[in-house]
């Protein structure tokens, strides 16, 4: 057991990982600009951000769960539920908007609590538990709406996704969705860096048993993560309602995009590594990739395949890196 000289840490520091996510985004956006040069105009960039906002917000929520070592596959269904519920509950009445927003968040929190409680106390692997709630929430949304879009969204609700302020100083135009996005990212950043929660989440994701024995409230940490994730899903749903109106598959497939986004940004699946910037730049990169593929004429449906490949390659790369260390 002779101690041998310490080698320098082999892993890139978090700062480097942040830059990697940013670098991927810049490269992809540059490629978009080559194909469509007008993407460099501030107006189109703002529009790009506006369209990316739902995925970005969802990725920030998902990151909380990923840090603690889990997955939340129910967020797409929660976003759909938010859209359908909003249109049914508001039914075109602008005065009802604010009360309904509160209701939507309460529903989201309820789903998050169910996810968290099932994972933390019933010990169901989150990938299975949240697949179950995904079915459950989807079924509820469809049963409630009768399987088709029903009701109507008033202008003031749709503004969250649609409103764009023109002639803003310096940047030209500013969509409300981008303001919502910045607000959400700021709160998510604060949760991880302005409180002790972030470090607890990382420890739980890294080694839940060690965290528990060190006194960490493991169950509470997990439950909070799922609640944050569900809240992000409701926010996403509200923006989507503004973008594209009411539809029964508004949030379909978003859960896997959110997970893939975090992974692209350098968060580690099964926990213990990642920062809010992994989610932000990962989501931007993924959205830029989709935009680019769209511009190049690739079918949308291949998105699933790309995400699948990203998941396998990302986890495989981590495994390979870990193995090389031993």
């Amino acid at each position: 057991m002779t101690p041998i000289p310490q080698v320098a840490p082999l892993r890139p520091s978090p700062k480097l990982a942040l830059n990697a996510g940013l670098v991927i985004f810049v490269v992809l956006y540059a490629a978009i600009a080559v194909v469509q040069p007008n993407y460099l105009e501030p107006g189109l960039f703002m529009n790009f951000l506006r369209r990316a906002a739902p995925l970005l917000i969802l990725a920030c929520g998902q990151l909380y769960v990923i840090l603690t070592g889990g997955f939340d596959l129910s967020v797409g269904a929660v976003a759909t539920l938010a859209v359908l519920a909003a249109s049914i509950l508001i039914n075109g009445d602008p005065d009802a908007t604010w009360a309904v927003l509160g209701t939507l968040y309460l529903m989201g929190i309820a789903v998050g609590l169910v996810n968290g409680l099932v994972v933390a106390f019933l010990k169901v692997p989150s990938i299975i538990a949240t697949l179950g709630t995904m079915l459950l929430v989807n079924g509820l949304a469809l049963a409630w709406s009768g399987g088709a879009a029903r009701g109507d969204l008033p202008e003031n609700f749709r503004n969250f996704g649609r409103l764009v302020w023109r002639d803003v100083w310096l940047i030209g135009s500013l969509p409300l969705a981008v303001v919502v996005l910045c607000g959400f990212v700021a709160i998510a950043w604060w949760g991880l860096n302005g409180t002790v929660y972030g470090k607890r989440a990382l420890a739980v994701g890294d080694n839940p048993r060690a965290a528990e024995l060190a006194g960490t409230p493991v169950a509470a940490t997990r439950i909070i993560a799922f609640v944050v994730s569900s809240i992000s899903a409701v926010t996403t749903g509200i923006l989507l309602g503004g973008f594209s109106g009411v539809s029964v598959n508004a949030g379909e497939g978003l859960e896997l995009q959110a997970i893939a986004a975090c992974v692209v940004g350098g968060a580690q699946l099964l926990g213990g590594r990642g920062s809010i910037w992994s989610a932000v730049f990962g989501a931007l990169s993924l959205f830029a990739l989709f935009t680019l593929l769209n511009l190049m004429g690739l079918p949308q449906a291949l998105r699933d395949s790309i995400q699948g490949a990203i998941l396998i390659v990302a986890v495989g790369a981590t495994m390979w890196r870990n193995r090389r260390r031993i």
Binding site: V196, A210, A211, E212, A214, G215, P217, Q268
Partner: protein
Amino acid sequence: MTIIPALHMAGISKTFPGVRALDCVDFDCRTGEVHAICGENGAGKSTLMKILGGSYRPDAGEIRLNGRLVHLTHPRQAADAGISIIHQELSLLPYRTVAENIFMGRELARFGLLDRRQMNKRAAELLRRVGADIDPEGQVSTLSIAMQQLVEIAKALLLDAGILVMDEPTAALDERDAQNLLSLIRGLREEGVAIVYISHRMPEVMAVADRVTVLKDGQKIWTRARHAAPVPEIIRAMVGRDLKDFYPKRPSSGPGKVLLSVEGGANAALRDISFDVRAGEIVGVAGLEDSGKAHLAQALVGDEPLSAGVMRVNGKPVSIRSPRQATAAGIGYLPGDRKRDALALRQSVRDNALLTLRSMAGFFARPQRAALSPAAIDSELRDMDVRAADFGQEIGTLSGGNQQKAIIVRWLAQASDVLVFVEPTRGIDIAAKAAIYQTMRAFADAGRGIVVVSSDMPELIGIADRILVMHQGRIAGELPRGASEEEVMRLSLGIAQQEPREAFA
């Protein structure tokens, strides 16, 4: 050197991240010989055997069987080469029958179809041979740990191997079963089997070994015939220096007020546990693997809570149902399996040291302020002499000793009153060991208490002010400071209540 040994390992080296586990070790074993390997925990015994078993590949060195060079890259190859190993960790299938376990990987089959009848018959014979009265068709999960150990031994005998390696085979056995095993070993030796016997129980080694090899810190110290290797010499070679200045001096003053007390504590694994820990005191807990000593530690920290009895901290009755409640009550836990139970390997040294403080702080506590700040914890890490290029570095890259020190800092920062310390120096090099003992003593001298659970008997005797010895879930007895290993062992084996007699004649 006219005889070619059955087993010859030459120049074996193996390095793990941060630790040189084996450094150019030579070892051989002849047919019809019992060759014992002695060494402290972490001396490299198990690594050497894992290399022989094909689980690890050595970085350097060669293995010859009856003079023939072999490359063992999978346990299968080792088995096919006639090497049979009884592993320290049980490797049984809990939901399968005893016979199915004994024949795991060597099932009797015709055209791919299992021959259960024949397997049960052969299994029964093997079990008789190891002196175990076990139904081959019973499910393993219903057996006690000792019985499971005997199944492991039967499993190893199935191979009819030329070389038999036993890694701490008696760890879970009571005296009668251990005696049976020793006579079995003598029988196998008569049959010409080369037996490698790993143990740190000196009486057993003296009873069966023909030759003894001592390993220390991954290096071979010497190999001698048994009659040329008296026990004190072996121990000196194992420890490598005089035990006296290895352990810190005890304070002259007596212990203070009671910090922690348990009365009539019991749960599924423990019964009738009553003891107390006073300020300034280090209380040792000894016992065999299945004595319940690990369960006692887990009960104190609420990991496996007591279901009966009263626990008091500073005189106040407390109900401890979870590690978080234990932490809040002032009890800290340093688990024996650091990798599994204590470390968040991919987090930084600093984050690991801050984990408990952060976990107990209010949710909205600012992570950069006061005790939670990097500067505060860095100075504590420096005081503990945790050696890292940068405290922002992943703790997984540190050596075992430095990792352990960082975990100690975690609990010092939390200012716990009582530490429950399990296997404090397992897998830790000598220099760090001494530092950890010093820290433990200093912690106790500051008016706090430590419960130290250890399988390392010299360590317990050296560091503890008194030793509780556990046997079958109870505290079998208490020994004052300066007890001998024999006394501890006798209580551990549960033979003190009966008429005193020589252990391991």
